[in-house]
Symmetry: C2
Subunit: 179 residues, 2 copies
């Protein structure tokens, strides 16, 4: 079955965006030489990316205004807005968990969960994230949007790999199957 993979960067204190929703502290870090990290390997395992509207909007306006950066993938944007599909981008009004269950039951390569925090939270709560690639950026932001929210249930993980480059540490975990 297709795996769902959370591939995301956070500050050491667990923020994915600062209190203005900005990720500029991240770009400076990552621009050095991304090829040292796991991204190149990671994108070869996936063909689909899932994100919320705010993340979509941020990628469109801030990160890459000129072209859709994930044009090699099928993008699903979860939003309440009614929007016609664009080339390789589908806007869905489904819940994150329903969308992911449907995608997992269809054919394809792995599925990248790209954010934001609310979608990640719902999928974690429903135990629908199989792998976690967390890039820890060497900064303590102090405030902002947290990656991990409150959950009722503990989630045990298994560490698969770590890698360090340019001050960033990548931690790769998979969900530990119940014994």
């Amino acid at each position: 079955m297709r795996k769902t993979v959370l591939y995301i960067a956070m500050s050491l204190d667990g923020y994915i965006a600062d209190d203005g929703g900005k990720v500029d502290w991240l770009e400076g870090q990552e621009s050095a030489d991304e090829s040292e990290g796991t991204y190149t390997e990671f994108v070869q395992e996936i063909d689909t990316v899932v994100m919320g509207w705010k993340t979509y909007h941020q990628v469109m306006t801030e990160l890459s205004p000129d072209e859709w950066v994930y044009s090699d993938l099928t993008t699903y944007v979860i939003t309440h807005r009614e929007k016609e599909p664009e080339e390789k981008i589908r806007f869905v009004q489904d819940s994150p968990s329903n969308l992911i269950r449907n995608l997992k039951n269809s054919e394809g390569k792995d599925i990248w969960i790209c954010g934001g925090a609310e979608i990640v939270r719902q999928l974690m709560q429903d135990e629908l994230i199989d792998r976690f690639y967390i890039s820890v950026i060497p900064v303590i932001l102090g405030k902002g949007i947290r990656l991990f929210g409150k959950m009722e249930k503990r989630l045990e993980l298994k560490l698969l790999e770590t890698r360090s480059w340019n001050g960033i540490t990548e931690l790769l975990y998979e969900k530990r199957e119940e014994q």
Copy 2:
């Protein structure tokens, strides 16, 4: 000058204790073979440990009721309680930052900041932590006591080392000096 070192374990989602204040999820992980980690090296660099009352009480009652585990170190317990000093344990009513400033100006090896979260927060805010040894435990707790609290100022770090053992990843940072 003596360095202050935060040496502490947290869950991947940044908790140092569960919502009952318990750390049993931590003990199970660490008991495997601590010698693989950095602890043995770390304790050789320090002669002093600083903690709050709750951390002190937890070590006394839960972790090691029979003997004071840090008997090789001088322990400072920050508390509002008036207590007579015990062998190698001094109870101080000073603020964390004042205590640390005084200790840093005195002779000795490095100083371990052991917790809890409130003391860590005050010292980070005042930029009084020089090094961060963070052991990331492979679990997402979902709730509990967070290591990192809200801070007004960003803290840039420099990654010095990472080490993995028994599913735990140790991240060693030092404060990046302003340029």
